[in-house]
């Protein structure tokens, strides 16, 4: 009896649409939308009665289309993003100068010192990002000491981006045919200093800026940055970079023009 009265008195009257919208969302509660879980996003969408300004990374365009349709609306498709690790300071490229023996947490090491390879901007290899991924899209490569982001599983929720204490991971456009080009370094120290710690660091020479035809590259604080909205994937920058700091991902191998050249290449050691 008492329970009945209490239940009636404290009943929360809610818009029934919230439950319906929430059911259309993936239910992962990853926080990638910027809200505290799927239900929270549903509450806000119902509050505004529109999907304008909302985006669910794991659900993607499919989910947003369905939710918009619930309100009888149409939504513009967004280009998919992907998390990109902008550091190539592997164990061989950025040799360890000191040995770290302690808690394997990037957050802790970052607050302690520059890291065992000496680069104050580079990946510490502690795997905080891997731990933060709820979509099994990351793992630590033991040989390189860097995390690997699996393209097919990453939903660009942004958890790893937030977790990395050095802000090395960036959400960038996945790209047409999954092709993308980016500067794999965030070191803003002078070229000489950066190169001392890591052989594939960006030294801020500016050659890439000069050769880019779409004005997509800017040089600031000794560091080049490629704007993924402007990049036309010509890859001229990749070829001129003296330290191989610029990466091209998922492009096909370059075709050799002449079959003779190909034969010569294949039989080099016999010639």
């Amino acid at each position: 009896m008492i329970l009945y009265f209490v239940a009636q008195k404290f009943k929360v009257i809610e818009d029934p649409r919230i439950d319906e919208v929430a059911a259309l969302l993936p239910g992962v509660n990853c926080g990638g939308c910027g809200f505290a879980g799927c239900r929270n996003m549903a509450e806000n969408i119902v509050g505004k009665e529109s999907t304008e300004g909302f985006f669910c990374p794991p659900g993607g365009n499919e989910t947003m289309k369905t939710v918009a349709a619930f309100f009888g609306q149409v939504v513009e498709e967004k280009e998919p993003l992907i998390a990109v690790l902008r550091c190539n300071g592997t164990k061989s490229h950025a040799v360890a100068k000191t040995e770290y023996d302690g808690l394997n947490s990037c957050f802790f090491i970052h607050n302690l010192y520059s890291g065992s390879n000496g680069c104050a901007f580079g990946c510490l290899g502690g795997g905080d990002c891997v731990d933060s991924c709820k979509f099994d899209a990351m793992y630590m490569d033991k040989e390189t000491g860097l995390p690997v982001i699996l393209q097919d599983k990453c939903v660009a929720c942004g958890a790893c981006v937030k977790t990395c204490p050095r802000k090395i991971i960036e959400l960038r456009l996945k790209g047409l045919n999954d092709n993308r080009v980016f500067v794999c370094c965030i070191n803003t120290e002078k070229g000489g200093v950066a190169k001392k710690n890591c052989e594939v660091a960006c030294i801020g020479c500016g050659r890439c800026v000069k050769v880019c035809e779409s004005n997509a590259i800017t040089l600031e604080n000794n560091l080049a940055y490629i704007d993924f909205e402007k990049c036309t994937l010509s890859r001229k920058c990749v070829k001129v970079c003296p330290t191989n700091a610029i990466w091209e991902v998922n492009f096909p191998e370059e075709k050799i023009e002449s079959p003779l050249k190909q034969w010569q290449e294949d039989n080099f050691d016999k010639l």
């Binding site: 100068k97 023996d101 957050f107 010192y113 104050a120």
Partner: protein, 442 residues
């Protein structure tokens, strides 16, 4: 014998350099003076490349409320104001000076005479201490002049001088008590005047009987100063533990010593105050202990700020072959350094060289809830519980576990039979809770 009640551990004292008189290190050829040598914001440089400077000249100014002045420790020409590695483990802005001679600013009284008469007023004393760039030399480097400015509504009753030096190996404070006792006591009187208190206690651990005897005898000349012998127990040098032991007062959680009418200052700070107020000498040198089990010549060196630690290590007989870690500070709370180019800064009380087999961490196994960490925590916290919040990514829970009361003494990690990285996880939790609180305040 007086002591603090809860927790504490007994690491081996290893006061190898206790009997070694302070040696003056020669002035180096270059000094690297970091702009971040105190708690709070880094100081703003006042010199540029090519400027000539003298010893004791102001070269950087405190930038914000919690910040301190920095003075040149050498005479010469500023080579550059650029990034260089410092004790933070990162490259930070430093003033690099090429040394020429050893010319001091004319206003400094270089005579060896003892000046016992305190002529300045309370306000002048605090102002002088601020100008001289004095910060807590126990290692925390909190700007001293701010500690002396008692906030509205609070009143200082006692000055407590922290002469405990509970860290193993470190003996710089001990030597100051033996060799500069009179100056130290005058410095204490100056601080008493600045705080308008009539009673001061000097807390000394019982492993320094010569210092206790010497200061007890001399303090008879100075009214209001009492020497207190304390039981040897780490971390007796923590200010809250010190206040509990001497006055049996507990500083409430989250509050400062002034809440119970106390202000705590380190012994070396008190000596620096004497030099600043009576001799017009700003802070540009300090006593640094260089020690370690395998160190050839453990010593206490009077070093100019900015001297690279490689020079001190050479003076102590070179880096032993079996060295695993070079620690700034003591082995309990000190920080392992990642370069020999790192310069001595105001907060560097010692360098401890730890052999590789001691420096290597224990293999980590599972927590069996033995609660040894709880029994040794001097602040009455539950270390394993707090560490667990960090391991499981639930740092917000640590706030209710009073993580902000943690003084990071390391007693828990020292004791843990499973070799758990307790203090590291606690630091992560503390940091994240601090971030949460700042976000909430916005």
């Amino acid at each position: 014998m007086k002591t603090f009640k809860s927790g504490g551990v007994h690491p081996e004292e290893n006061k190898l350099s206790a009997g070694i008189p302070i040696r003056i290190m020669p002035v180096p050829q270059t000094v690297v003076i970091p702009l971040a040598q105190s708690l709070g914001a880094a100081s703003t440089p006042l010199v540029n490349k090519g400027d000539k400077v003298l010893v004791g000249q102001l070269i950087a100014q405190g930038a914000t409320f919690i910040s301190a002045n920095i003075h040149s420790s050498v005479s010469g020409t500023v080579a550059k104001v650029d990034d260089a590695i410092d004790a933070s483990g990162y490259r930070k802005k430093c003033i690099i000076i090429d040394v020429e001679g050893d010319e001091w600013v004319a206003s400094i009284d270089i005579s060896p005479d003892l000046k016992a008469n305190i002529t300045m007023t309370k306000e002048e004393i605090i102002s002088r201490i601020k100008e001289a760039g004095i910060v807590g030399l126990g290692g925390a480097t909190f700007p001293t002049h701010i500690k002396l400015m008692v906030p509205e509504g609070k009143k200082a009753e006692h000055l407590i001088i922290n002469a405990v030096e509970c860290e193993p190996f470190l003996t710089s404070d001990h030597r100051i008590m033996l060799e500069k006792a009179e100056e130290l006591l005058i410095g204490v009187k100056i601080l008493m005047k600045a705080l308008e208190v009539t009673k001061a206690f000097i807390g000394i651990e019982n492993n320094k009987p010569d210092a206790i005897a010497h200061l007890t005898e001399l303090s008879k000349k100075y009214e209001g100063i009492r020497v207190c012998a304390l039981k040897v127990k780490y971390p007796q040098g923590g200010e809250k533990q010190l206040i509990k032991a001497i006055l049996n007062r507990g500083v409430p959680s989250g509050k400062l010593p002034i809440e119970v009418g106390c202000v705590v200052q380190n012994v070396a700070t008190a000596f620096a105050v004497y030099e600043a107020v009576q001799k017009n000498k700003p802070l540009f040198e300090r006593v640094v202990t260089v020690s370690g089990i395998s160190v050839k010549n453990p010593c206490n060196l009077l070093v100019r700020i900015g001297t690279r630690i490689s020079a001190l290590l050479e003076e102590a007989g070179g880096v032993p072959g079996d060295t695993g870690k070079i620690i700034s500070g003591g082995p309990m709370m000190g920080k392992a350094l990642n370069s020999l180019e790192i310069p001595v800064v105001k907060g560097m009380s010692g360098l401890v060289l730890m052999p590789v087999d001691e420096a290597k961490r224990m293999k980590v196994s599972n927590c069996i809830r033995c609660a040894k960490c709880i029994s040794v925590c001097p602040m009455g916290l539950a270390p394993y519980h707090i560490a667990q919040t960090a391991e499981t990514g639930q740092e917000e829970r640590a706030e209710s576990l009073n993580v902000l009361d943690c003084i990071e003494c390391g007693s828990c990690a020292f004791t843990c039979p499973a070799g758990l990285p307790l203090l590291e996880n606690i630091r992560v939790a503390k940091n994240k809770v601090g971030q949460l609180i700042r976000l909430r305040a916005k």
